[in-house]
Structure formats: C-alpha cells, structure tokens
Amino acid sequence: MRRFTFLSVLAILVVARGQAPAPELKLPVAANSVRFAVIGDSGTGDRAQYEVGEQMARYHASFPFDFVLMMGDNIYGSETPADMKRKFEDPYKPLLDAGVKFYACLGNHDNPNQRLYKPFNMGGQRFYSFKKGNVSFFALDSNYMDPAELEWLTTQLSQSGSAWNICYFHHPLYTHARFHGADVDLRTRIEPIFEKAGVNVVLTGHQHVYERIKPQNGIYYFVLGNSGELRFHDLRPSPDTIKGFDTDRTFMLVEIAGDTFNFQTISRTGQTVDSGALPRQPKPNQTNGPIR
C-alpha cells in the first residue's frame, strides 16, 4: 500500500512536470503582426543566461516570434569557437533550431569582427538596417558613432518609408541606473536625428537592469541590459522611470500590430515584470496624432 502511494505520487509529479502551465501571455498574437524578442548584455555563458534562453523558448511555443534583437555585449571575455557555442549557440539552441534569426549590434565588450559571424546577421557591417513588414530596424554602433555613421543614419531614416522606425544600440541615451549613467554626448548627436526623422522606439542595453523611460520628445525608450549580466539594485528612483527592474534577468517580447507597439518583459523565472501597448506616434510632418 505504502509502495502504491509512493508510485502514485511519483506518477503525478511526472505528469505535472510534463504539463507545465502555459506561460502568461499579454500580447495579442494578431495576424500579420511583426513579432520579435529583445535581449541585452547576454553573453556570459552562465547558468542565468541559459535560464533566460529556456524561458524564451517556452514563450516561443505560444508566441512564435521570428527574430531576436541583441543590444550588444553579445560575448563577454574570450571569443573562441567554444565560447561562441557556450555563450550564444547553446543557450538559444531551441530558438536557433526553430529558425529564429538573431540581429546583433556591438557592445563595448564585443570584438567588432563579430560583424562577420553569420548567426548575428550583421552582413559584415558594424551598423546596418533591415525591414520586417511595416517596421524598419536600425542597428547602430554606439561605441564608435563617427560622422560616417551619423550621415548613414540620417540618409537611411529619411528613406525609410516604414510606419515604424526602431533604432537599437548598446549605450542608453536615458537611464537612471547608477553604474554607467546615460551617454549625454551620444544623445546630443543622435537624438536630433531621431526626432527629425520620426524614430518611434529606441532600445538599448549596457546598464544591467531593465528600465522603461517616460517618452522623451515623443520617443519611447527602453533599456534592457540584464539578459545575462545583472547589477543588483542599481536603479535609483526617478519620476522619469515608468518601470524599473533590477533584481533578476529579463528579456522582452514585442508585437507590432498595426499602429500599436505591444510589449511584455519577462524575468528569468517567468514572471511578467512590465507590459503595455503604446500607440504609434505621428510622423514629424503630421500635425494631428497622439503624443509627439
């Protein structure tokens, strides 16, 4: 009898483990939407990075995103073939096997020759753009924002023609994390270009926290630099922070459906730490519209 009870409990545990509850999803999963994930400062090769990768794969089952944006610091420390496997290929293996593409930008810990590493889809360039549906993405090199890159960005944005323009790069223009702070010189140079061209969303990393900033001059700013690294309790309170999270690792899921930017930020343990739906801002030459 005692043996029967033990086996029953064991069987229940096995069944329960096999039927893990579906993750909590706060995104519409609309037809023809643009779906992607965001990770930043991920390439440690530590257990926490793998656990974030597992959560991403879990969510991918119910929210099939097509690609992942990487905010830089893709590979910390050495970058031998074994390192690329341990710090990138293995943590995201289920996603890579499912055909999910990764689009990286360079962080200060990255060798710029990562642009040649095909799984990062940088096309051999340290800054580049690509388009998905009605969204244009601009991956920038904020380590080295020289006049050539600024000119390229200005031209590319002026020719975009997309409903949504999203720029992503490593160093945040706004943040309330203590360790590095915002890059004000970078902000002085590129924010006017963003404003003039009608950039809608800016995604960055570098600070090992998650932070959503109040829209600045009409632009939505996110910092997500804790998909591998973490700087515990690094955020200082600010009225300009809508949501901050600095006690665990995160990744973000995004779904752009028509004129709405839907997002859900999820922790290493599967907890939703932030979510929302942001309306598309009107283009700079438009006079009516929500917030710009």
Binding site: T80, R126, H180, A182, L186
Partner: protein
C-alpha cells in the same frame, strides 16, 4: 610698348596667384601629412590582405579568428620595427592635441568628459604593432571628439584608452599608433 605692359601685368598676376596658392594653412598641412601616412598603412594592409583568402560572413568563428590572426601576423611582419610616433609624428600629435582641446572646450566639454567617465575606462599597456588585448572592452569614443578629428579610412578607428588616443586597425585588431596623454 603696349604689348609689353600687358604681358608684364599678366605675369604679375600669375606670380601673385601662384604665390597665394602656395600659402598653405600649417594645420591643414599636418592633417594632410597624417592622412598620407594612414593611407600608406591602409595600402599596406590591403596588399597583405590580398595574400589571404577573402573572408565573408561565416558561421565559423574559427575562420574569423584565424583570418584576424593571420592578417595581424603578416601586417606585423611588414611593419617590423614600427614605433610610437610613426604615424602620429610629434608635429601631427601636437595638432591632434590642439583638435582634442577644441572638442573638449565650450558647451560640449562637459558632455565629452561625462561620456568618457561613463564609458567603462580601461587600462591597457599600449605597444605599436601588437594586438589590442583580447577580452578587454573597447572604450567608446565620444561622437563630439570624432567630429573634431580627421576622418579615417574604413576599418581604422580612434580609441580612447586611459587618456591616450589610439589608432586601431579593426580588421587585424592591431594597435597602429597612439598619442600618449592626448586626452586632458
């Protein structure tokens, strides 16, 4: 007599114009000298690169590292004996210090200083013709500083290391030259 006078006037004008053309801004001359030296380096790097199989984006990190290493070794061999100051000659270095000083004055000064302080400063022993150490982060270079310095050919960049200005070859990861204590 009339013809002689006209001829003399034309000759005078030619002498005046050519004399003016020869008056070159000394600062511009130093920038030109720097550009000529860096272009020579790029020419050498391209020649060396031509001896290696072309590298396109690949899934093989081993191939990327091998190419970087081979390119660096061959450039080092060709530049054997290169020392600090080969490209940043004393006069050119003085001009760069002046340009950096301009970038770090006025309304942008505090932004540049702040950017440098927040850019995860690194300490590296700099040796010309040696690779930038693997695994050491690259400090970001403030855009305002880059706007005030002469433009570089693709894949050559200015990097701030401590308070030194480094000229780095991104393809071979080699330190091409540097100016000690360039950043005030």
């Amino acid at each position: 007599m009339k013809l002689t006078f006209t001829g003399t006037a034309v000759l005078f004008l030619i002498v005046m114009i050519s004399g003016r053309a020869q008056k070159v801004n000394p600062d511009a001359r130093l920038v030109e000298e720097f550009e000529a030296r860096i272009n020579d380096y790029v020419k050498l790097r391209k020649q060396v690169e031509g001896t290696l199989p072309a590298l396109k984006p690949t899934g093989s990190q081993g191939a990327i590292k091998h190419h970087e290493h081979e390119l660096a070794e061959r450039v080092r061999k060709e530049r054997h004996g290169a020392t600090q100051g080969n490209i940043f000659t004393p006069d050119v270095a003085a001009e760069f210090r002046r340009l950096i000083g301009l970038a770090m004055q006025g309304k942008d000064a505090s932004h540049v200083h702040q950017s440098l302080q927040h850019a995860e400063p690194v300490r590296v022993r700099l040796v010309v013709n040696e690779p930038y150490p693997s695994g050491v982060p690259l400090q970001s270079t403030p855009p305002t500083l880059l706007m005030n310095l002469p433009r570089l050919p693709p894949d050559i960049d200015y990097r701030v290391v401590g308070n030194n200005l480094v000229l780095r070859d991104a393809k071979s990861n080699l330190i091409v030259d540097f100016i000690p204590n360039a950043i005030p």
